[in-house]
């Protein structure tokens, strides 16, 4: 699946923000090491590649550590359900998992919650007035779940939309942060997500510096939220650059 034109592996770790207050306990962060040996503010290497599925209008494959995702975009095409006339296009999203996506196993099923969150994250960025009466379908399949699945699906979906030539205001990038004890961990893996006290997921348009979706769950203190916001914004804009590079490479490869 690797080594195709348009493949790029790079990290998008944010710069470490200086804490406003000195920590009360020295080296308080160091009582915990991450399962994959990363630093707390270090993201997993991101491999992105467009054009993974030939039969789709546009598609992308993303591999962030063990999280592997394929997103296909179909359309704009005729709306299937007999729906009333609409001046603007419709967006239809679906996220599903393979049966072997996680080791605990189970039935590979549609993930309704992620489907609707993907829809909400994307709807603000797509210029739906450019495809009236029709539908754009965004389908994601999580091949392997290794943590931070939804942010990876969202970023990958925005690449697939670009690959399909759907008009958008900006790229969409998403990054999540887990809060465990006093520490914030960016781009958490499954084990970290399992024992987190709170999670923070931000979806933003990196060039416009605007947020399309922000989900905060669990226990958070205001300074932690501020720090998480800074971390996510920085990581999002860096991820945006990586995605832009991936698209440039794919475009120059197709020109040749």
């Amino acid at each position: 699946m690797a080594s195709k034109p348009g493949a790029a592996t790079s990290t998008y770790s944010p710069k470490i923000v200086a804490r406003t207050r000195p920590p009360i306990f020295k080296d308080s962060d160091l009582d915990w090491t991450r399962p994959d040996g990363r630093g707390f503010h270090q993201c997993r290497p991101a491999l992105l590649q467009t054009g993974a599925v030939s039969s789709a209008s546009g598609s992308a494959y993303a591999e962030f550590g063990n999280t592997k995702v394929i997103v296909s975009v179909f359309g704009p095409r005729e709306s299937k359900k007999a729906m009333v006339y609409s001046d603007v296009g419709r967006l239809n999203c679906n996220v599903s998992y393979t049966t072997f996506a996680s080791p605990s196993a189970g039935q590979g099923t549609d993930h309704k919650e992620y489907s609707s969150m993907l829809h909400k994250a994307l709807e603000g960025v797509i210029m739906t007035e450019t495809f009236p009466k029709t539908t754009v379908d965004v389908f994601a399949l999580v091949l392997e779940s290794g943590g931070s699945d939804l942010p990876v699906v969202i970023s990958c979906a925005s690449l697939a939309l670009v690959d399909a030539g759907i008009m958008m205001y900006d790229l969409i990038t998403a990054v999540s942060v887990s809060c465990i004890g006093k520490s914030l961990m960016i781009d958490p893996v499954t084990e970290e997500e399992g024992c987190e006290d709170g999670s923070f997921t931000m979806t933003c348009m990196p060039s416009r510096y605007e947020i399309t979706q922000l989900t905060i769950t669990g226990e958070w203190t205001t300074p932690n939220i501020n720090e998480a916001m800074q971390l996510c914004l920085d990581a999002c804009s860096k991820l945006g650059e990586i995605m832009r590079d991936c698209l440039k490479q794919a475009a120059s490869a197709s020109d040749e």
């Binding site: 699946m1 993974a52 599925v53 030939s54 039969s55 789709a56 598609s59 063990n66 394929i70 997103v71 296909s72 179909f74 095409r77 299937k80 679906n94 599903s96 393979t98 049966t99 072997f100 996506a101 996680s102 080791p103 196993a105 590979g108 549609d110 379908d137 389908f139 994601a140 399949l141 091949l143 392997e144």
Partner: protein, 302 residues
Amino acid sequence: MGLPDSSQDLSSEMEVDAFRKIFPLRFFERHLSESLRPDGRPLGKARDTIVNLGLVSSADGSALAKIGYTTMLAAIRMEVMTPSTDSPDEGCIAVEFHMPPICSPTVRPGRPADAAPVISKRLLDTISSCNMIDLKELCLVSGKAAWMGYLDIYCLDADGALFDAALLSAVAAFSNLQIPVVALNDNGRIVAITGEEKQDNASITEKEAVNKERRKLTLKNIPFSLTCILHKNYILADPTAEEESIMDTLVTVVLDSSDQIVSFNKSGGNALAHTSAIKSCVELAKKRGNELKQILGEMDVD
């Protein structure tokens, strides 16, 4: 295709792409008369084939097979089960073929593709009837415990010859399969042994390892398949999705390692299969089998 005469007149004036869309059959027949296909292949040649092993870390064995654009990801998970009373010393294999909505514009979420269960069944029949796997090898404790292998194949990109690609990925996944280490504990139940415990030899002897080391299955007889399209006098090997949609008589031949026919399937279609056509399909399948053997053989060396 109701206006064959007008299409002949138009063909000199129209753009190629428009002609291909409006008169697909005529477009293909024009190519076939030159013994060539639109993608530049001769009639009997299959597309480039790639197989990669061990891509899914959460599975016990996995493989990705690509034939042209058609892409299949197969993964096997092993679980311990109680064997049925009819065959107390045999394990079991379950095969499921999935077509998620990402693979083709014709599949929509919530409505599974019609082709998926058909291919599932044919895969299971092929794998069990050619004796590729000795189910006795999957036995742990006779009558008490045996392995259940769940083989899931996901179609990531559907561009024709789905059964061929699915079977190839399944075979490759089985060749990649590593059966996990398990042991019998004091209560007579099977427990998995993880990497750390394995170094502790004492605990293994105490627990009486049933399956002492990670082992591979011996694949006795490997099936290879080739799908062909019959159209008039032409035989097209390894069709793309476009070719399958235009010409609907498909013949699938499955041969085993010693070129014996495992299964032959022609499901309807307009064209009748003459004996000579069937013979040439089998010949093509033999050639293709040798190609695939080479591709799989190269992987084993690595």
